[in-house]
Amino acid sequence: MTTFNELMKLRRQQRQAVAAAKTGVPGTRDPNAPEDETGYKPLEWPVVKKLLQWMWPYRKQYAIALLLNITFVLLDMSSIPFMQHLIDHDIPGHRHFLQEPIARTVFCVSPEFAATIRELSGKAQSFFAIGLTISLWVCAVITNLFISRFNIEYNRRVGEQVLFSIRKAVFNHLQKLSMSFYDRTKFGRILSRGTTDIDTLANPIINGVNTVVVNIIIMCIAVIMLLAYDWRVALAILWLGPVLYGMNRFYRKRIGNQYRIVREHFTRVTTNLVENINGMRVVTAYNRQEDNLARFNDLQDWNTVNNVSAAMMNGLYMPLLSAVGYIGKVIIFIYGCYLALQLPAHDFYAFKIGSLIAMLWCWDWFMGPVLNFGTFQTEMMQSMVSAERVFALLDQKPDVTDAYNAFTLPPIRGHVAFQEVYFHYVKGKPVLHDINFQARPGQTIALVGHTGCGKSTIMNLICRFYLPQSGKILVDDYDITQVTSESLHKQMGIVSQNNYLFSGTVLDNIRYASPHATEAQIVAAAKQLGSHEILENLKDGYHTEVGERGAAMSLGQRQLICFTRAFLANPRILMLDEATSAVDTHTEMVIQEALNRLVADRTTFIVAHRLSTVTRADLVLVLDHGKIIERGTHRSLLDLGGKYAELYKQFTREIE
């Protein structure tokens, strides 16, 4: 833990380091930070325009919300003239404003009534006037209470509606995007587009228009009232507005930066902690406890420095801002007094103490929006970054789309043919050259080769996740680019290496692709496949929760659930990426058995890791650097004595 002196020393060091290296703050900013998630961006019209376009369908609701808000503010600000009138005219027992000709017509006060009031004695007239003003004031307040009941809900509802329409649009759009998008975009980034980035948009969408319009109105009214009470005093103080605004912007910028440093650095504290908990076995096995604590406390010290620095900024600027506000009040007091002495006190139009108080209040009302604008601008700049990212995602065009005249693929037998297929993900780095092969209905085709030889790319192409640059892929003699992706995918199945499960029960996961299957059908399918015994013996049988992404299931169980899912969907063409992880021998046998039944009677492409799988295949394609170098059955390839035989030897050597 640091003492104050050490703290100041660290802070100085940090500042010097910042000055030395303008690029980053050692001990505060991670040079490897991939994406500045909380950056600032100046307001840009195209982005703002897009935001407004999203809000446009709800313009009527926005208009009503705005109207309610403006009324609310106007009534709220009416307290200023009420107060002024109370002090200047009612308490001293001068005429009440209802006796003025204009007010009399507006409020339908009969001349007789006005005359009656005038005849009251001094004190009684005061009491009456006080009562009258206060009751009018009460009316304004009550109206406002009613309005606030509506505008709170109304405002929020419109904003949330827009926000949710964006949420849904983003999700909808993500469903349309091709696999290539998912492959080249980091998972975390896609995630933050749909979650935190949209959350950041809440502020401009819910409060944006409102903040701008209402604050402008407040400011205008405050200025008009100041000018009306006395234009000279008003001019003497209004110049402070820009000063306040400038100071506030400067302060917001600095404190925003400081908070970013605090956050970024705090991430390091938490990362260290998380890493340590996750790697606890390693920590213990390697006796790192003391070193780790020292390192952690070091990070904590930096955290203290950063937080105290932020507190210093707050402690400096907040009083400074209120001091500038106070200058305005001083001017009102002194100059106001001077003006008040220019006319005799009993003159109705003289500048009186009530006006002075009213001006003090107006000044407060005026300062509010000035400071709000600065704060709002900073917030908007933060949202701009998110907005731009969200809109960029929505503008992303899917690489693979259905042709405009795509037709529905009729039920197929499962014949797959590759004709001179060339493919690359990145230009200049070809992945597949001249791939030709035919898979007859019901055959099992094993793809063999080193990592990166193009096995999974072939699968991706059959699934039409990507389109080949040249060549054709035919399914039952239909070019797959000519059919709708939905009809194609409905007849295909995939079991991926990571055996992905959605949270929910085992049952939900099995019927993922065929939502109308009954439990009885599912159990029948599992029995047929041979996975029934293991699934039934789970904690709650088929109703066991699999946990988030299947975390509650063992690898073997997950694999079997995925097999059953694919089996129930009963696709004509199945893509199977064998999992490499070893499971215990009993489960392994069940899996092997299930696999045999799964691939029977359908065209299956397997990226094989087990020898037994390869030996059973009808056709083995050996790939090397994107070319098919050998093809045939296991037996014939062994006899050939080429690359495959070599791989096989490497594999079996460990057993001999």
């Binding site: 749909g194 908990i277 907040m318 009083p319 008040a340 103490i353 108080i357 993922y512 499971v583 215990d584």
Partner: protein, 661 residues
């Protein structure tokens, strides 16, 4: 060799200077889950004791700030009253210019008072600066102590605790639970002082003005507090519902993106969209439900505030009229005389009092959170170390690494033993393989060896010394561990390799990497040994990570090496590379290896077959292949395919040969 029936061996194998009895287990403190709320509160308050001084300083600055603030309001009121009085009285019209007039009365007084007020503003600024800084330092110091305590406890608590709680849970405790307690303590100290100070000072000011006004100011307070408390009780479940609906929506989104290939392959985009929309609509409804509660609350609370404000103004105005109508001599001596400035003071005071009282709610809400969090936090802090150590424990004496399990029984839950009566001898420099189905207790045995846990019965000896009698550090220095899942820290490659021994030189690191067959791929990384790993660093393949873990385990040249299923998650190609690395490192050490694949097991000097926590077979590969049992069974299953192939191949060769002939 049949280890299960080994005769009981004399315990007195320990060399004389070593204590022969292990240290007594620590008595678990009263379980935190049984603590009463009062007890929890008392223990939370104890977190404040190391930061007493700065906490007190923070409080005094708050008191000072509140005092100055209230005093400022009072003086402003006086100034207004003063101005009003001379305006009412003077019928003089000033004709001098502003700069001349300002030098005479009554301006001199006004300017004087404004200056005093200005000085107060400056003083207030200074005090606020101090308050901010001291308060921040106070918070950070407190949180520093708390975090360090939790961090250290988590490092030393022993694995039984880590097994019981998922890492996510523990992270939550160390971060958000701790934060909840911290915020409560800080609020409990500073915010409560702030509330008390402001409410008290302002009440005193109102009382000093007029007792009727004071009574009127007091009337709305009970309603105010009651209504806010009632609302917060209603609001909490609504907010919880909103949060969990939001989490659900995020889960749907996350799972969709993570499982996108499943979605695409089964063409379930439409159902996914429906799922998401349903979840989004539900979330929207929850948000609006909370907003509706809020919309019902705000008008009432505003109503109470405005009515009290307006009634005070009305009463105040009437009092002004009454008291100012009196002749000056009488009014001057009158107690409870109300002036115009006082009306302003009363208005400001009432706003401040109600505003501050509203904050009580924050403290009670935080209290609710803190109590639940504190319970979880103290569960961590109170967790006893499961492997007790002598205060001054001797080091493990040097040796060849002979390991002896002497009828060891252990269960993570003592009622349910995971391994029973495990007894075997592994000579220094030998290779021992542990095989058996998942859950048979293989990993448990090697973890007992490193004393991650203590057995309930029996003893574990390394080089003839009961491991409970020597320091934990020396045992773990003697053992190199390669875990099933390689964990790398966000640090450079070199630092990851010398993780347990930061003092090792780059030369040592490189040597270890070479033995582990990692040197070549490390050089291919962008910055070689200085490449950053971990979340933000380079991504390595499973096999590469595994080889780094092996380098890490052997850099200190431990006498015992444990390979816990190190080959489970790699593909055959990489497996080949790693097994070459292993051949190199197994030389001259006692090695324990857990494996599914026969190829690795064959080389062992001793194969131990575990089933349901017991040793069912032990011996060399050849011996075990001769007797019926689990080992032969799995060996046969695994060899079946290969043998079939080999036979077929041999047959084919014979055929070909025959044809040639």
């Amino acid at each position: 060799m049949t280890t299960t029936s080994a005769p009981p061996r004399p315990v007195a194998k320990g060399v004389p200077p070593f204590p022969t009895k292990p240290p007594p287990p620590l008595v678990a403190a009263q379980a935190a889950s049984n603590l009463s709320n009062a007890e929890l509160l008392r223990r939370m308050v104890r977190f404040l004791s190391p930061v007493k001084g700065i906490a007190a300083a923070s409080c005094s600055f708050i008191l000072l700030w509140a005092f100055i603030d209230v005093f400022f309001t009072r003086l402003t009121g006086n100034l207004v009253s003063f101005i009003r009085e001379f305006l009412e009285k003077s019928h003089v019209v000033v004709h001098e210019s502003f700069w001349v007039a300002i030098r005479h009365e009554p301006f001199r007084t006004v300017v004087g008072m404004v200056t005093i007020l200005g000085l107060l503003v400056i003083l207030n600024g200074v005090v606020r600066f101090c308050r901010e800084v001291v308060n921040s330092k106070f918070t950070m110091d407190m949180v520093y102590h708390m975090r360090a305590a939790v961090y250290d406890r988590l490092q030393r608590v022993g694995f039984a605790f880590h097994d019981e709680h998922s890492s996510g849970q523990l992270i939550n405790r160390a971060l958000s639970d701790l934060q909840n307690v911290r915020v409560f303590l800080q609020m409990g100290v500073t915010l409560s002082i702030e509330i008390i100070a402001f409410v008290l000072f302002y009440e005193l000011i109102i009382i000093s003005i007029n007792k009727w006004l004071a009574i009127a100011a007091f009337v709305p307070v009970p309603f105010w507090i009651w209504y806010i408390a009632r609302f917060s009780k209603k609001m909490q479940p609504a907010q919880l519902a909103q949060m969990s609906a939001g989490d659900d929506l995020v889960t749907v989104f996350t799972e969709n993106v993570a499982g996108v290939h499943v979605v695409k392959a089964f063409a379930t985009e439409k159902t996914e969209i429906q799922k998401y929309n349903k979840s989004a609509d539900y979330f929207f409804d929850r948000v609006m439900a909370a907003v509706r509660l809020w919309r019902n609350f705000v008008p009432v609370i505003r109503g109470i505030a405005s009515s009290s404000h307006l009634s005070l103004l009305a009463i105040g105005s009437v009092l002004v009229v009454i008291t100012s109508a009196l002749p000056e001599e009488v009014a001057g001596q009158l107690k409870g005389r109300v002036k115009i400035g006082d009306l302003l003071v009363v208005g400001t005071a009432m706003n401040a009092i109600l505003g501050r009282l509203q904050q009580i709610n924050q403290i009670t809400e935080q209290y609710q959170k803190a109590i639940t969090s504190a319970r979880r936090l103290f569960e961590v802090l109170d967790a006893p170390s499961t492997v007790p150590e002598f205060a001054v424990a001797p080091k493990l004496p040097p040796g060849k690494g002979a390991v002896d399990f002497h009828f060891v029984s252990f269960g993570y839950d003592p009622e349910k033993p995971v391994v029973r009566d495990i007894a075997f001898d592994a000579k220094g420099g030998s290779i021992t393989a542990l095989v058996g189905p998942t859950g048979a207790g293989k990993s448990t045995i090697v973890q007992l060896l490193a004393r991650f846990y203590d057995p309930q019965r029996g003893q574990v000896f390394i080089d003839g010394v009961d491991i409970r009698t020597v320091s934990l550090k020396s045992i773990r220095e003697a053992i190199g561990f390669v875990f099933q899942e390689t964990f790398l820290f966000s640090d450079t490659v070199a630092n990851n390799i010398r993780y347990g021994h930061p003092e090792k030189t780059m030369g040592d690191v490189e040597a270890a990497a070479r033995i582990a067959q990692a040197h070549e791929f490390i050089l291919e990384l962008p910055l070689g040994y200085d490449t950053m790993l971990g979340e933000r660093g380079a991504t390595l393949s499973g096999g590469q990570r595994q080889r780094l873990a092996i380098a890490r385990a052997i850099i200190s040249n431990p006498r015992i090496l444990v390979l816990d299923d190190a080959l489970a998650a790699v593909d055959p190609e990489t497996e080949h590379l790693i097994s070459r690395a292993l051949e190199m490192v197994m030389v001259d050490r006692t090695v324990f290896i857990i494996a599914h694949r026969l190829s690795t097991v064959k080389a062992a000097d001793l194969v131990i077959v575990l089933e349901r926590g017991r040793i069912t077979q032990a011996g060399t590969h050849q011996e075990l292949m001769k007797e019926p049992g689990h080992y032969r069974h799995i060996a046969e299953v695994q060899l079946a395919y290969q043998e079939k192939e080999l036979l077929a191949k041999a047959g084919k060769k014979a055929e070909v040969a025959a044809q040639k002939r």
